[in-house]
């Protein structure tokens, strides 16, 4: 049975003062999928993702997130998604526990829920001893794993991850992807951008964005066949080489 689409976009476009950052992209993401959203620096990934999260208004085109329209129903969207932005997004001057409690609280979770889930999460991330330390004192990899766990703390239907593993060592990246798989198994749809091609292999389907347009969209295996390549790296290079947009 075909899973239903949880993200749909049609000719979605964003222009900044005459510059088209996202150029009429159309794609669907199925419920429960791990969807890799690839593209070189400046391709327009973050811009597209911010439109899908209801953070910025599209210039034109259509998009729905879990059935909610990105123009009119942004409040509804916000209830059904989690988002981990490219910038680090926890409060460094609050402790691990305080951060979790804060985000749980503003999503309207009960104290009992927060308490129970916090204990589980600290155990899962193996940071029980760091629970009362300031987030600023944690290593980057731990912070990123914590940020991910906080982004899905309220059990959203979809989580958007914008380069969640940037600058993280390979071992921690593997651990991070284990967390992603666990979330995926619980039915959370994953929408993730990355610059690491090994991570692209972990995705169910992958799109590759070049200069604001989606140039290719398929399973990693399908892409490799189409482009006659042995690795995703190769596929990416073939496509990204076409880019005319200057690197940021």
């Amino acid at each position: 049975m075909e899973a239903e689409n949880i993200i749909t976009t049609e000719e979605l476009t964003k222009r900044f003062a005459g510059f088209t950052a996202v150029d009429a992209i159309s794609f669907n993401v199925k419920k429960g999928e791990i969807f890799g959203f690839l593209g070189a620096n400046g391709a327009g990934k973050t811009t597209a993702m911010r439109m899908l999260c209801g953070l910025s208004k599209p210039t034109s085109g259509k998009a729905t997130i879990a059935g909610a329209d990105v123009y009119k129903q942004t409040e509804q969207i916000k209830k059904s998604i989690g988002y981990m932005s490219q910038k680090f997004s926890l409060y460094e001057d609050l402790t691990v526990k305080e951060n979790i409690r804060f985000y749980g609280g503003i999503y309207g979770k009960t104290n009992a829920f927060i308490k129970e889930k916090t204990a589980f999460l600290l155990h899962q991330l193996n940071i029980e001893n760091e629970a009362d330390k300031l987030v600023a004192s944690l290593p980057l990899g731990w912070k990123q794993k914590l940020a991910f766990s906080v982004a899905i703390f309220h059990e959203p239907q979809i989580v958007f991850l914008d380069e969640p593993t940037g600058g993280v060592d390979p071992v921690t990246r593997r651990e991070f992807w284990n967390l992603i798989y666990q979330a995926s198994e619980r039915g959370i749809t994953i929408f993730v951008t990355t610059h690491y091609m090994d991570e692209a292999e972990y995705c169910n389907r992958v799109s590759i964005m070049v200069d604001g347009k989606i140039e290719a969209l398929d399973t990693p295996r399908g892409l490799k066949e189409t482009y006659n390549a042995t690795t995703m790296d190769d596929v990416f290079l073939q496509l990204a080489r076409k880019a005319t947009r200057a690197d940021v």
Partner: protein, 372 residues
């Protein structure tokens, strides 16, 4: 409501965990209140004096020693040539010349009154004018003293009681501090309101946490209240600390009621917080927010009547002061603290400030919505 609780809890935690903010809260009021009133003091001391004595009598010497004993004057030169004195003023070596006429003692003895002539160096206007005023009051005092002496002579009272009368005659020192301190309190409260609040919000933009907040179902008004309330409380704390310091350091107790001060301050803080919020919607980095706040503070302070009386400003500047919330608070503080004005007396100012608060906050909220 519960959302707001979580926001406030977070905000207060961050504020009280930030050593820079704590320093600002406790050290800034101390520094400003303990140092500024002294440094920015218009009281004039060390006025350089030239005395041209044509009389060389007992009384003329008594007069000069009385002038120098007042503590405001430094006797630079004692001469009998007027041209030497005017040369000293021309060379900026003296601020004031006093000319004692030849008939000084005789006139005093005969008519209990004698004229002296003053020439002032108007380059430093404040010093010259105030110096002349001091001198006049001393001369008057001296004349009175002489009269007293004549009357008291038969009663075997060799020391006429001149000193005491003179020291109470004119006390600019105390008045001046009382005048400055309420104004400085206003500056403090304004800084906390607009500066700290806008910096705090822009900091969240800079580090990216505001994106994270914007993607949650938090309502805009929750977020804004979550920012306003802590800084509103901080503003009142600063005011309290400031009032305490002014009492301990200068013995200033408001002639009016604390209630009036706090009611006005509460409304005033809403206005400056609205301004801070507005500034934050225009800025994306803390530097920008700093620069804008700094620029606004300069204008507010210079055109708020803290140092320069508004009445002595040109008409166009007076017109600007009406759009400056600081003007109203300084006015109210001085009137409540020095004159004892009641809430009813300051009602017009209170209404104007509430209008400021309404306009600035609405503008900020509208602007904030657009960005999100």
């Amino acid at each position: 409501m519960r959302t707001l609780q979580f926001l406030l809890q977070k905000e207060f935690r961050q504020i009280f965990r930030d050593p820079a903010i704590l320093r600002i809260i406790f050290v800034m009021p101390m520094m400003q209140l303990l140092i500024l009133p002294w440094a920015a003091d218009y009281e004039v001391k060390n006025i350089k004096l030239v005395v041209v004595d044509h009389d060389h009598s007992d009384y003329s010497r008594q007069f000069v020693s009385k002038v120098t004993a007042s503590g405001y004057f430094l006797l630079n030169t004692y001469t009998s040539s007027y041209s030497e004195a005017s040369q000293q003023i021309a060379d900026d070596k003296a601020d004031i010349a006093v000319e004692i006429p030849a008939r000084f003692e005789k006139d005093l003895v005969k008519e209990s009154e004698a004229p002296v002539f003053l020439a002032v160096n108007a380059v430093n206007g404040v010093k010259a004018v105030l110096g002349a005023a001091y001198l006049q009051s001393i001369i008057q005092d001296f004349n009175n003293g002489i009269r007293a002496k004549w009357i008291q002579m038969p009663r075997l009272s060799p020391e006429p009681n001149i000193e005491v009368v003179s020291s109470n005659w004119y006390n600019p020192l105390m008045n001046y501090k009382w005048f400055m301190v309420p104004g400085i309190l206003v500056v403090l409260v304004t800084m906390v309101g607009s500066f700290l609040a806008s910096l705090n919000i822009v900091k969240e933009k800079e580090i990216g946490t505001i994106e994270q907040i914007n993607v949650t179902p938090i309502k805009k008004y929750h977020f804004i209240l979550g920012k306003l309330i802590p800084f509103w409380v901080l503003g009142l704390i600063i005011l309290t600390i400031g009032l305490l310091i002014s009492y301990v350091a200068y013995g200033i107790v408001p002639a009016g009621s604390f209630f009036t001060i706090y009611v006005f301050a509460a409304a005033y803080l809403l206005a400056v917080l609205g301004l801070g919020l507005l500034v934050s919607t225009f800025c994306s980095t803390q530097q920008q927010a700093m620069l804008i706040s700094f620029f606004l503070m300069m204008i507010f302070i210079l055109l708020g009547g803290l140092y320069t009386p508004i009445e002595s400003m040109p008409t166009w500047a007076q017109w600007i002061t009406r759009f400056n919330p600081v003007t109203y608070f300084i006015h109210v503080m001085r009137f409540v603290i020095l004159k004892g004005s009641s809430l009813a007396d300051i009602l017009p100012q209170l209404c104007i400030i509430l209008i400021f608060a309404f306009v600035l906050n609405s503008w900020a909220v509208i602007n904030y919505r657009k960005r999100a």
